[in-house]
Symmetry: D2
Subunit: 296 residues, 4 copies
C-alpha cells in the first residue's frame, strides 16, 4: 500500500486499555491556559516514568469553554483508575490551582464514572458552592482571587498506546512531517499525544541484550545510524531518521481517526518514505490498529 | 520604604537550603529546546507534590550553548541529593531523551559535586564516547539519530524558597506586574521559578483551621475576597489580588539579585500598591532575605 | 439591554463596502506559515496608512489546507479593486515569496472575480505549470527549492469597518476581555481584524479641534483620562479603559456573527461594564450593524 | 577556508550605506510588545517593495527598557533620510499608537541626528509633557489610557545589505541552520534582519533574461532544482537548498560581528556544506565584507 508514494507497512499498532479522563483548564487568556495545561501535562510521557500519560487534546476558544474564557482540554490516561485519580488530584493541586486565574471543569460530562477531586477542602471553610452556566462548582478563595473547580471529573474506558512510525530521508524533514501529523491529532477531539511536542525520536524495546539490569533499551532495530553493524536492523534503505507518534484516545474510533489522519498528513510532506507502527506480540495489549485497514 | 510609591513591607522571605543542579538542554531549534525543557520542568512546582522544584533558568543562544544549538538552562532543586538524582534521571529519560533532536550537557561544570546519570546503558552496547568541544559525552543511537549526553551533572548547595508577594488594585494589573518580575528573573543567571509561568496566585498555610485532615490550606490571611469576613486578614485596604513569585537559586547572591530586580520591575508597573514576602517563623528554613536590605 | 450585567448601548457600528480577497499561505510548519502571514499582514491597520487592511482570518491545519501543510487564511480588504490587487502582489512578492518554504493558494475558489498575480515571471523561464490536488499552480525555482503559487486569487464584495467598543474598570481587565473577543473572531471563518493583536486602544475622530492641519486626532469623547476636563466626554462613570475591535469580513453575515460572538465573549470577562460601537453619521459608509439586533 | 568541515567561499558580501534609526517599543507584557514590533516591521523586507527595511534588533527585558516594561528594539533602514522619516512616522501611527498599552522611546539616544515624529498633535490639545526617568516624553490621551512617546528618534549613518548564503544537503536542515544564525543575530546589539523570520529562500538577480519587462527575477545561478538545465549554475554538487540572511546594522562593526557569529552558528549545524555571500560588482554599494577576513 502506498500514499503519495510513501510505503505503508502491512503491520499494526498494538495498544492497551486505559482509563481516560479529560479536564478543561480555562484562564484569563490563552497563554495562561496553555501554561497551566503544559505544566499539568509535563513529565507525563509514560505511565511508568511519569506516573500518567497526559497531553493537551485540543484548544478551546472562549465560545467553546464552560466559563467563556480561553481553555485547553487536557487528557490523562492510566490503566489503573485509582492511580489515575491520584495523578489528577496531584497535578491539579500542583499545576492548575497554583497557576494564575485558572479554573477546572469536567471535560467528559456524559461519562457515568466520575473521579472525585475534593480540592474544595483547600478553602478551609471559606469555599462555597456556586454555578457556572448549568455546572455546579466550588469557589475557593485564593490570594489571586477565586479558584473555580468542578470537582467530579468524568472518566471512561479508552485506549493508550496507539502509534505510528514516520521514516524519512533526513532528520529535519522527517521531524517536520511528524509535526504536521501532530497538528492534525491536536485538532481532532478525543485524542492526545503525551511526548514533548507530540513526537518522540527515541523508541525503546523491553529489556536489553547487553545490560541485563536494564528494563528497557534503545529500539536498535529501528536506529538508522547503526543499520550497518546491526544484523537485526529493520531500517529500510535510504532511511536516516524515524519518529514515532503515540496516541491516547477516549475510544477506538478516536484513536483510529487520529492515526489515519495523522498518517495522511505525514505522507504529504517531503522526505517521508515509509510509515510503520509498533507492536510487541500482544504483550502490551489486546488492541490492534492495522494500518491498511484504518487507511482504506 | 517605598519604591515608585509602592509600599515595601519591613519583612523577610524565609528560604531553605537545597541541592541545585543545572542541565543544559539543546535541540535543533529554539522551539524544540523549549518544548523539552518545559516538559522536563512540568509538574515540578514543589518538592512535596511534584518530587522536585524545577524551572527554566534562562535561554541560551547558539553562541552560548556547548554544541552551538539553541538551548535552555534548566534548574532543579531538592533538599535531598539522592532524591534530586532520581528526579534528574527520570526527567531526562522521560522528557529529554524522548524529545526530538535534543542533547544534554552539564550546566554547572565547575561544581565539584557531580550527579551521575548513566543513561548510556540505554544504548545497549551501541553507544560510544565522543567529544563536543572539550566535553566528553556519550552518543546513544536512537530512532531519530543520536542522543548526546554528558553524564555527570554538577550539583551545588543552593537555596530554595526565596519569594515575594505582589499586591495590587485588580487581578490583571497585578498579574501583569508579576509577569514583568518573572521576565527579569528569567534573564538573570542562576535563578529560576518553578510555578507555571513563574507566578502563583495560590499560596498556602500549613494545616487547616477547619479540616484537620488537610496538611495545607489556602493562605486565608492573604485572600482578598474574604478580607471582610476573616478577622485575621492581612490584606491591605484596596488590594484585590496578590501574586507570589518563588525563586530557587544557586547561591544567596543569585536569589538576592533575582528578588531585588524582580521587585523593582514589579514596582514600575501600574496597579501595584504593596510588596511583601512569605515567612513561617523559621519552620521552613534558616535563610532570611530582608526586603529592605536587599533593596537598599 | 444587558448581557451578564454588561450594558449594551443602543447604537450601531457603521461600516463600508470593500473588495475582499483571501489567500492561503502554507509552509513546512506552523511557525513558518504564521511568520509569513504576520509579515504579509503587518503595517496594514488601515487603508489610508498601510495601503490595505489585512489580517489572519484563521489558522488552517494540514487537514484543511490545499497542499496538506500547516497554513494561514489571510484576508485583505480595500474599497478599490485595483489598489487591492497592487497590495496583494506587493505583499506576496515581499513577504511570502521571500519567506522560507511557503506556497500561496486562492482562499476564495468560488469567487467569480479574480485578481491575477502573475508572479510566475519571476521564474525567468524556468517556471512550469503543475498540479496540487485539483488546483493548477506555477512552480517557480528559487534558492530554497520551489515556490508554488496559484495565481488567480478570488475577490468578492465584502465589508470593512465592522466594530465594537469594550469598556471596563481598568486597563488590563478590559484588554483581556478584548483579547477573548479576538480569539473568537479568529476562530470564525470569513472575518479578520487588522490591528496589531486584533485590538486597538487608540480610536480617532476625523480632523482636530485644535490643530487644523491634522486629518485625524484622538477620539477625545472616549478617552477616560480626560473625562473630567472634556465637556463632550462620553465615557461612562467608572470606565477607565476602552478598547476597539475592528472587523472586516467577506459578507454581512460574517461580520455580524464575528461582532455578536465577539461581544458575547467580552461580556463574560471580569471588569467589563459597557459595550458600544463606532459610527460617523453615515460619512464612513452605508452599513449599520445595530448591536441590539445582532445580539438578539 | 573551512569551519567544522563547511567550505567558506573566498568571496564577499556587498553592502550599501543607509540611514538607520532605532525605536524602543514597550508594552504591558512581552506579547504585546512583540505584537506591536512585528506589525511595525511587517511588509518591510526591502526598501523598494515595502518602503523601508525593518526588523527587531533585540528583545529588551524590563531591566533594560526606559519605562521598566518589556520591550523590543526595532531597527529601520533607508538610504534616504526623508523617506526613512516618513516610514517611521507612518509605522508608529499605524502599528504602535494603535496597539494596546504601547510606548515609544528613542533607541539611539547618543545619535546627534534626530528624526522628529511630532505625533503629539494627535492629542488635539489634551497632550502634555512629562518625564520617564530622565527622558522628556509626550503623554497623549487615547481610549485605552495614555500613549507615551519620545518624539525625537536618533538616526545614524549605518549599513544595509550585509549578507551570507547557507548551502546544504536538504531544505529543512539548511533552514534549521539558517534559523540558528538568526537567533545569534537577534541576540547581538545593533543588527537586524528584515525578512520574515530573518531568512529568505528567494534571492533575486537584477532584470530577467527572458522577460524584458521584469526588473528582477529569480537568482537562477543559485537555484538547486534547475542546476542540471542551467549552464550558468553555481550550485555546488550535493547542495539541495540555499538560504540567505540579510543584515542591516548601525555600523560596519555591528554588521561584521553579526555576519561572523551568524556564519559560525550555521557551520555547527548538520547538513550545511558551503557558505557564500552575495555581491553585484559594486552596483549595489561600496562596502565589501570579505568572508575570510571577518571569520579570521
Amino acid at each position: 500500500m502506498e500514499i503519495n508514494g510513501v510505503v505503508i507497512d502491512d503491520t499494526y499498532a498494538e495498544a492497551f486499555p486505559a482509563w481516560i479522563s479529560e479536564l478543561i483548564i480555562t484562564a484569563a487568556n490563552r497563554y495562561l491556559a496553555q501554561e497551566a495545561a503544559e505544566h499539568a501535562t509535563g513529565f507525563a510521557s509514560s505511565v511508568i516514568g511519569g506516573g500518567v500519560e497526559a497531553g493537551i487534546d485540543r484548544y478551546l476558544s472562549p465560545r467553546k469553554s464552560p466559563d467563556g474564557r480561553p481553555g485547553c482540554m487536557v487528557l490523562m490516561a492510566h490503566p489503573d483508575k485509582k492511580l489515575l485519580q491520584d495523578q489528577i488530584i496531584q497535578r491539579i493541586a500542583e499545576c492548575v490551582l497554583t497557576a494564575p486565574t485558572t479554573a477546572i471543569f469536567n471535560g467528559l460530562p456524559n461519562a457515568t464514572e466520575k473521579i472525585p477531586v475534593k480540592l474544595h477542602f483547600f478553602g478551609d471553610g471559606y469555599e462555597y458552592r456556586t454555578k457556572v452556566g448549568d455546572r455546579t462548582v466550588w469557589a475557593i478563595p485564593i490570594m489571586g482571587g477565586e479558584f473555580i473547580i468542578e470537582e467530579q471529573i468524568g472518566c471512561i474506558e479508552g485506549i493508550a498506546g496507539g502509534n505510528f512510525l514516520i521514516m524519512g530521508t533526513d532528520q529535519m524533514s522527517t521531524l517536520t512531517a511528524a509535526q504536521a501529523a501532530v497538528e492534525v491529532v491536536n485538532e481532532l477531539e478525543g485524542a492526545a499525544t503525551s511526548f514533548p511536542g507530540g513526537v518522540t525520536g527515541s523508541g525503546s524495546k523491553i529489556g536489553s541484550k547487553k545490560y541485563k539490569f536494564m528494563k528497557a533499551s534503545t529500539n536498535d532495530a529501528f536506529c538508522p545510524t547503526i543499520k550497518q553493524k546491526n544484523p537485526n536492523s529493520l531500517v529500510p534503505d535510504g532511511v536516516k531518521a524515524i519518529f514515532e507518534i503515540v496516541i491516547d484516545g477516549i475510544s477506538e474510533e478516536a484513536v483510529k481517526q487520529a492515526m489515519a489522519d495523522g498518517i495522511r498528513a505525514a505522507c504529504r510532506m517531503i522526505g517521508v518514505t515509509h510509515i510503520s507502527a509498533g507492536h510487541y506480540g500482544g504483550t502490551l495489549g489486546p488492541y490492534k490498529f492495522k494500518l491498511h485497514e484504518i487507511l482504506s
